[in-house]
């Protein structure tokens, strides 16, 4: 049985179909989970996709974290289930306290829409188990608030616990320590600003998102 991935849809989310399509193209099952429904419908893993959940009002993710589905996502995360936040989804997971730190406006206050080179820093995460350390990946970014920030203590913890999952080779947004993505202490919750679901075919300019989402599917199959 293939792994079933739930893709959360808030009002204002706009990357849910890309995520569903990416998962299906890699042989997984995917379904949309409405934010107002507390049930995860038995999925094995959850993707919180990109967009502007609840209009990003107040702060990105500030309102989304109170949606009924988020309590269930937190339960899944606490039980060790794979949870991936992409872009706005990463912002939602930090606001929800499932990942440390916060995402600030980009240095230079520019909305960035380009393809960046990421370096895989650890394979001990649900996003990178099928990648290799040091591997460089071409993945698109598309954000205004992707400037990762955290306290010096949190940064030291992320580094010493090997929880920086991917770094920018050429930092585009001012993120502390070039951080593009991090994972939870349990390594099953990952958030990153770049969009692996937009890099799953050479026709899209890059297929480098395949090992990342392939890792997620593998982790989901284990918890299935």
């Amino acid at each position: 049985m293939s792994a079933r991935i739930g893709v959360v849809l808030f009002p204002g989310t706009n990357c849910e179909h890309d995520a569903v399509e990416a998962i299906r193209s890699l042989g997984g099952e995917a379904e949309i989970l409405w934010h107002g429904d507390a049930s995860l419908h038995g999925v094995d893993a959850v993707i919180v996709p990109g967009g502007f959940a609840h209009g990003d009002y107040l702060r990105p993710g500030a309102i989304a974290r109170f949606s009924p589905v988020m309590a269930s996502v937190a339960e899944l995360a606490a039980a060790g289930g794979p949870v991936l936040g992409i872009c706005n989804g990463f912002q939602v997971l930090t606001e929800a306290g499932l990942l440390p730190g916060a995402l600030q406006k980009n240095a230079g206050l520019k909305f960035l829409c380009t393809t960046v080179t990421l370096r895989v820093e650890t394979t001990r995460s649900v996003l990178t188990s099928e990648a290799t350390v040091g591997q460089e990946l071409q993945i698109p970014i598309n954000h205004f608030e992707g400037n990762f920030t955290c306290s010096p203590e949190t940064l030291a913890e992320l580094r010493s616990e090997d929880r920086v999952v991917v770094r920018y080779v050429d930092n585009p947004n001012g993120s502390v320590d070039d951080i593009a993505g991090i994972c939870s202490r349990g390594r099953n919750v990952v958030g990153l600003m770049p969009h692996p679901e937009r890099a799953i075919s050479d026709l899209l300019g890059s297929a480098d998102g395949v090992p990342l989402l392939g890792s997620l599917l593998a982790a989901a199959a284990v918890s299935a």
Binding site: T94, Q104, T149, V176
Partner: protein, 90 residues
């Protein structure tokens, strides 16, 4: 009996947290001929009216709003000002 309060929440970035908006403004000012400006910080103000039993209750309620919703305590601090609206006691 309740009273009505004007509430003002000033949200600022915590010390040591990067302030991209402040940095951009600081870099721009010299180009407009304003020299000598340093330490620019950008925050926001949230204002509302709150009806509550007394000032201490109102303040506690606003502090709770701040920690759970109005600010992100990871990067932001809040300064709360509560002022009773004269003649609005119900």
């Amino acid at each position: 009996m309740t009273s009505t309060y004007d509430v003002r929440v000033d949200v600022t970035l915590r010390a040591g947290i990067a302030d991209p908006q402040g940095a951009t403004i600081e870099r721009s000012l010299p180009h407009l001929g304003f020299d000598g400006v340093t330490g620019v910080g950008v925050g926001k103000t949230i204002r509302f009216t709150l009806t509550s039993a007394d000032e201490a209750t109102a303040r506690a309620e606003v502090e709770d709003m701040c920690s759970r919703f109005l600010t992100n305590p990871v990067i932001e601090d809040a300064e709360v000002t509560v002022t009773e609206v004269a003649g609005a006691t119900a």
